[in-house]
């Protein structure tokens, strides 16, 4: 009975982890620029690795292997965000601009807002929804870069 429960938990965790990993990898290929790729892969990678390693901990039981796996989870939790953050800062400091800006550093969003306004004049409701759906994380990063 206990084995069955542990197996079920491991299955769920492994499926969740695999889902996150594959989605992160697809995002790595589909996203347009460095920062969105970072966001796609960094977050989901940590989640997926954590889930899979947690499932392995459940499978290992109370052994030395489980302790090593917990160390691995801790390493993931500490190093992955640090690496992501470092890559972002280095990219900004070298001069890679997010996709929301054009080559001269002007905000490209103004153009899109004009387009949006034109669309809103034509069809009010769905365009307004779409406007609210803009990526907040990307906008925040863009704001920092413009301050610099």
């Amino acid at each position: 009975m206990l084995d069955l429960v542990i197996d079920a938990i491991s299955w769920i965790l492994i499926l969740a982890g695999s889902f996150f990993l594959v989605v992160g990898a697809i995002g790595l290929n589909r996203m347009p620029d460095v920062f969105s790729r970072l966001q796609a892969t960094g977050v989901s990678d940590t989640a997926g690795a954590g889930f899979i390693l947690l499932a392995l901990v459940f499978q290992a039981g109370f052994t030395l292997v489980a302790v090593k796996l917990i160390f691995l989870i801790l390493i993931f939790l500490f190093t992955a965000p640090v690496a992501t953050h470092a890559v972002t800062r280095a990219a900004l400091s070298v001069g890679v601009t997010p996709r929301l800006f054009d080559a001269s550093g002007r905000q490209r969003r103004k153009i899109t807002e004009e387009v949006m306004r034109a669309k809103t004049a034509a069809r009010p409701e769905p365009a307004a929804q779409q406007k609210g759906k803009g990526k907040p994380g990307a906008r925040k990063k863009g704001g920092r870069s413009s301050k610099r």
């Binding site: 990898a25 499978q59 090593k68 190093t79």
Partner: protein, 94 residues
């Protein structure tokens, strides 16, 4: 079976990350993808230990994790303080 599923998922992620490493237009794309490849390799090491029934090589996984971040930081430090870092304006002071 469970481990085989996880291993296949990790391999798919690995292949996609390799695509990004080869295609990435900037160095940072390659770096992000290299970091992801390192993570996937660690997971693969862990899963492979369980798959073959001798899960004793997790030390290697820990070593890979540390080396992964060391490699990323080495490249980043070179990029920021080497000859390319000069083009990005002023450096942060911390």
């Amino acid at each position: 079976m469970m481990f085989a599923v996880a291993a296949i998922a990790v391999l798919i992620a690995l292949a996609l990350a390799v695509v990004r490493v080869l295609a990435g237009p900037t160095v940072f794309d390659r770096l992000v993808a290299a970091n992801k490849i390192g993570n996937a390799v660690i997971l693969l090491v862990a899963i492979f230990g369980f798959l073959t029934g001798r899960p004793e090589w997790l030390d290697i996984g820990i070593l890979y994790g540390l080396l992964n971040i060391i490699a990323v930081f080495a490249v980043l430090k070179f990029l920021r303080y080497g000859d390319l870092g000069v083009t990005g304006g002023e450096e942060p002071t911390d």
